[in-house]
Subunit: 325 residues, 2 copies
């Protein structure tokens, strides 16, 4: 016989309510009571019926987060924000860093399809994962278009592109290069590129976009940035696709003897707390990270409850004016 | 009756082996087969017996990671590394950001005690959590002393402190200030302070350690750093307790009209990839992050198997010489 709650109560010499309060961390409890209850839990090898309940309800109260890597400050801060808010709503958070690992992403989707997690929030960059095509999955995407059925939460990428490019032009830049992810990536971040190109052309200038894959190592990125300076010695500004790349560009420029902002104007994208604090001078487009996290959770809960949702949620960005551009 | 694997196989018109291969992502499978199997899973509302198996085996194959916040690059990169390696060993990873939240930490311990996770890797800063006192818990700590029973994985904090301090003295610094966490925090990182003080005294200088709690907001930290410059106008070097703080100190120094390294020598601690890449000039003590992650996992697996372990694992550090000190 599996031990029951009342067996724990009896052994610990407390009421069932007290056992339940200890196990659920509720109300004031003396350390002595807590110790007695856990001692009984241990002796009996008791497991509360949470797991059993999961089995019958087919609910785990676990949400999976799939991002390229939480080692990147944007995904690190976003995951921390999501976890904080999900925890407060009674969910636990499984994390998967799926950078360059479509098999791992497929595996987590498999977890979802077989009800081992209740829902997924995904912002990965892998392509061609067929499991997303099952309809009405409790999945929301951040900055990624997966299929018609999965809602996307994103910052206003187009306006971000306009803000950054217009700002550089107003500062006097004539030859502005934009870095962005691979064109074939199905992500609303492509709209930054579109906005950059539209704005550049509206001012009678020539757009030059250089592809920098988010998923390659820093050293490869630095090679690409070095090549940009070699190919375009008359370059006077860069609108980088994220703040970490902007910081790398600043390093590479310095190695080329170019000082920001004297010789090169620079605008980044993301506006994470850590970069804003260690490089407050970086001009950047700030994404509303808390609002993105909260919207993703609200929409995911609607999906879990089979309620209708919009297909796209676009949240406002702002320009932080530093001294780099 | 709950649907069984053979019901799925029958409906999808494939063998049971094929269903199992689809659900476990094993071997070559055509997209058509995958689709047929998942369609049947969905129609039957089938849930594989993983959850049931968990219930009887009392194993979840889930490891919880408890760190102050993955928004910090050290914990972000460490968590990413731990997740990658644990995933390869067949574990999934729950994450909890427990900064300033002892209740949340106690809650995750409760999950462990009631077998909802198999083990915990903790590097939190909360104090006075009594649940750790149950013996033989499958818990390992990173940079934290919890009790006699829980093994601690740490970098060689004492040697790190010696390397940083000796380096600054060799560069000609006379008045060197060290920043470190609260003295009452039970963490091996206190040995950096001890090493700094021992080294400073061995050279006939006066140690000055300023307390900076890791868990306070950036703005509060900046106030403390500003105060340091006000209190010690003759200061010529700082050995900061982590790289993010070092980067903040560089900003604050600049606001005070002090340039690094001309007016102030600066050494950090951690050597995360991101900081090394965006601030390659920062001289810092580099922790062996991959080795810390691997050791934590190896030791945790030993605990899970009831094998004996050491109580402390000290891993070597190196000094990265940049241009700040």
């Amino acid at each position: 016989m599996r031990p029951k709650l009342e067996d724990v109560a009896k052994l610990a010499n407390v009421s069932k309510t007290t056992v339940s309060r200890v196990l659920n961390n509720r109300g004031y409890l003396s350390q002595e009571t807590i110790d007695r209850v856990y001692q009984a839990v241990k002796e009996l090898n008791y497991q509360p019926n949470v797991v059993a309940r999961q089995l019958y309800k087919k609910q785990t109260r676990i949400i999976g987060l799939l991002f390229p890597t939480i080692a990147n400050p944007f995904f690190g801060e976003l995951s921390a924000e999501l976890e904080k808010r999900l925890y407060n709503e009674g969910f636990k958070v499984l994390i998967g860093n799926s950078m360059n690992d479509p098999k791992k992403e497929a595996h987590y989707l498999n977890q979802l399809l077989t009800k081992q997690v209740d829902g997924l929030i995904v912002g990965t960059h892998n392509r061609g994962i067929k499991e997303y095509n099952y309809s009405h999955l409790p999945v929301v995407a951040i900055d990624r278009n997966m299929n018609q059925d999965i809602p996307v939460i994103e910052s206003d990428n187009y306006n971000g592109g306009v803000l950054a490019t217009t700002h550089l032009i107003n500062q006097g830049a004539k030859k502005i290069i934009h870095t962005n992810g691979p064109i074939e990536l199905e992500s609303p971040t492509k709209r930054r590129r579109l906005a950059y190109e539209d704005t550049i052309k509206a001012y009678g200038l020539t757009p030059i976009t250089v592809t920098v894959d988010f998923n390659i190592p820093y050293i490869e990125k630095k090679k690409i940035f070095t090549q940009i300076f070699k190919d375009h010695p008359d370059l006077d500004a860069i609108f980088a696709s994220n703040d970490v790349d902007a910081a790398l560009i600043m390093q590479v420029a310095l190695e080329q003897g170019l000082h920001v902002p004297k010789d090169l104007l620079l605008v980044g994208y993301d506006g994470t707390q850590i970069i804003q604090n260690i490089l407050p001078g970086l001009t950047t487009v700030v994404q509303p990270l808390e609002q993105i996290a909260q919207t993703a959770i609200t929409v995911l809960k609607q999906r879990l409850n089979n309620e209708p949702t919009d297909t796209e949620y676009i949240l406002p960005v702002t320009l932080h004016k530093g001294i780099t551009g």
